[in-house]
């Protein structure tokens, strides 16, 4: 693949059949396909996207005002879906759970991920890529499998977590109920997702840290800044774009929390619905009870909430207009 403008090895007359048609004929086809190319390349995607991406979005706005009996019949109900939703005790619980989970996620996972990334970024560290693999491997397991695994680990009496804790902490009983006690369900879920996602966020932070200009650090050291001051003066501003990215995606992801609690709590919301999340509520109402209209209403409520919060976050962190 050369970058020169001419290739001396190519003759201008057709040397063998099928190599190139005559210049005159090929030119119009050539320019035609050059002009058409972008449309041809992009259109299959655009078509599929319109059918399976755009159309459902529009339809769901409509559906939100109906109550359905599965995909077979619908009844127009106006705002009654939203009305019921906001008064429904279960929905309120789902919102509360989801918000608590998101807050824990953000304020627990992200600092841990950042901390690990900083530690991992130290120059003197050996075994860097092994450690990185180790921290990231939880995320390679799918949420379903992590759910199954941790359901076993958190089980009473015989589960690993209880047995280890009982041997370390005096007075800790192996009968401690994690997933059976409404008060402990959320901690168990938060811990599991901490295990699952810290590595993922850490990788982003690590990349951000490695992209920081070394000279800035050296300049700060020359000025006599201690590590703590160096962090706030150099590191923090440099990783701001990636930190914002991680923050926003983490929040959006946390709001969509479904797989882990669903699997760990036995395909339901758990005792007293302590593990019921908004998406789980949507799933139960839409696909088990069968009211697709109500599910759309819940979906849109979630979407608007998520959008609002993401925009707020981006504004607060002073990020520039989304420039993916």
């Amino acid at each position: 693949m050369s970058t020169t403008l001419t290739k001396p090895s190519r003759p201008t007359e057709p040397a063998s059949p099928g190599s190139r048609p005559t210049r005159a004929k090929s030119s119009s086809w050539f320019t035609a396909q050059h002009k058409l190319a972008p449309y041809v390349f992009v259109s299959p995607f655009v078509i599929m996207f319109s059918i399976f991406g755009i159309y459902p979005i529009i339809k769901s706005i409509m559906l939100a005002f109906y109550a359905t009996n599965g995909p077979k019949s619908q009844v127009y109900v106006g705002f009654s879906n939203f009305n019921f939703m906001f008064h429904h005790h279960d929905f309120q619980i789902a919102v509360r759970n989801t918000i608590i989970y998101t807050l824990c996620s953000v304020f627990l996972q992200l600092p841990c991920a950042l901390g690990l990334a900083i530690l991992l970024n130290q120059k003197w560290l050996k075994g860097h890529s092994f450690l990185r693999l180790a921290f990231y491997s939880p995320n390679l397991m799918g949420t379903v499998y992590v759910g199954i695994l941790f359901q076993q680990l958190f089980s009473i009496h015989y589960g690993l977590v209880n047995r280890v804790l009982a041997s370390i902490i005096p007075g800790f009983s192996t009968d401690f109920k994690w997933l059976g006690d409404p008060a402990n369900v959320m901690p168990a879920l938060v811990l599991t997702s901490l295990w699952l996602y810290v590595g993922y966020n850490m990788v982003y932070f690590l990349a951000g840290l490695q992209a920081v200009d070394k000279e800035l650090y050296e300049a700060a050291e020359v000025d006599g800044a201690n590590p703590w001051q160096r962090f706030w003066a150099v590191t923090a501003p440099s990783i701001k774009p990636i930190a914002t990215f991680v923050l926003v995606t983490s929040t959006i992801g946390s709001f969509q929390f479904f797989d882990l609690p669903y699997i760990m709590l036995g395909n339901g919301g758990g005792p007293n619905n302590a593990g019921l999340t908004i998406v789980m509520y949507l799933y139960q109402q839409g696909f088990i009870t069968g009211d697709l209209g109500y599910a759309s209403a819940v979906g849109w409520t979630l979407a608007i909430g998520v959008l609002a919060i993401s925009l707020l976050q981006m504004k607060l962190t002073g990020s520039m207009k989304g420039n993916d």
Binding site: L119, L140, L160, Y283, L302
Partner: protein, 294 residues
């Protein structure tokens, strides 16, 4: 280390500083080791448990003596359940999905990166807008639509709607933007058709990004739970996550079933891990490509 100025902090004595440095390194190493152990323990536990017989599984804390190790869990997995069939389903759905996504996303990404055309801004704007929407918004109408298309409880229903990934397109667009335009111009002058430029030039250059994308798409499809759960009813069409979840609910406390369940889990996570080992570097590069810049 550095020139001492008036601003140096009180622990100025060289010995003191070196001591606190090695103290710091020790603490840091300890933290990393503990964190590493915590990160790996459950996975190793899983692996260890899959080779234990049904008594050891409950009584042993972690490892069982080597003489007790057995492959019976894996044997039972394939003999007593239709794990083999479900595994095949997952392989089929995931691989077809990844290839389809790869083709559409790379082609469209190329189109959006290297060309100007009417409506480009509109298309990109709409796609960007939809990226902000969580996927759950469209689940209900999509199901309704697929029901009327007779694609419910069929593989097509899983594969076709996921052929479009906006995320994938942006990833490819970002990466293809880096390809120097001169390369394309040179090819055009040689008479290459646009498609050949894509096929012969741009794609081979983008192999690292393709590797990263393949891994991400593979992970996404292989581990996908909610949508297949909604769509698939008959267990002939189940993929691994749904089948394992069902097995968990049905048999988790039955005699000898924990071993089978854990063996199935282990086998289900293995492919992604293996793929990751091979595609590590590309993956990290690709993952952070969009984030660091933007």
């Amino acid at each position: 280390m550095s020139v001492q100025t008036v601003n140096t902090p009180p622990t100025a004595s060289p010995i003191g500083r070196r001591a606190s440095e090695s103290m710091g390194k020790l603490i840091a190493s300890l933290i990393l080791i503990v964190a590493g152990v915590i990160a790996l323990t459950p996975i190793v536990w899983l692996l260890a448990k899959t080779v234990q017989n049904k008594d050891d599984i409950l009584s042993c804390l972690y490892f069982a003596p080597i003489s007790h190790w057995t492959t019976e869990n894996y044997q039972h997995l394939f003999v007593k359940t239709d794990f083999g069939h479900v595994l095949l389903n997952s392989i089929f759905v995931t691989d077809v999905t990844v290839i389809t996504q790869l083709f559409f996303a790379s082609l469209a990404g190329f189109g959006l990166a290297k060309y100007e055309f009417k409506g480009k801004k509109l298309v990109m704007g709409v796609m960007l807008a939809t990226m902000m929407l969580p996927g759950q918004v469209t689940m209900a109408p999509l199901y309704d639509m697929l029901y009327h298309m007779h694609m419910v409880d069929r593989f097509q229903g899983l594969i076709i709607p996921s052929a479009v990934t906006v995320f994938g397109i942006f990833l490819f667009r970002q990466s293809i933007l880096q390809v120097p335009d001169e390369l394309l111009q040179a090819a055009r002058i040689d008479g290459c058709s646009e498609f050949r430029i894509y096929w012969d030039i741009v794609m081979p250059i983008s192999r690292p990004m393709i590797g990263a994308f393949c891994l991400m798409a593979f992970m996404g499809s292989w581990n996908n739970f909610l949508w297949p759960q909604i769509l698939m009813h008959h267990d002939y069409y189940f993929t691994l996550p749904i089948a394992l979840n069902q097995f968990n609910g049905m048999y988790s406390t039955a005699e000898g079933s924990m071993g089978i369940l854990l063996a199935g889990t282990m086998l289900s996570v293995l492919p992604v891990m293996v793929l990751f080992v091979f595609l590590q570097k590309e993956f990290v590069a690709g993952l952070t490509a969009g984030a660091v810049k933007g």
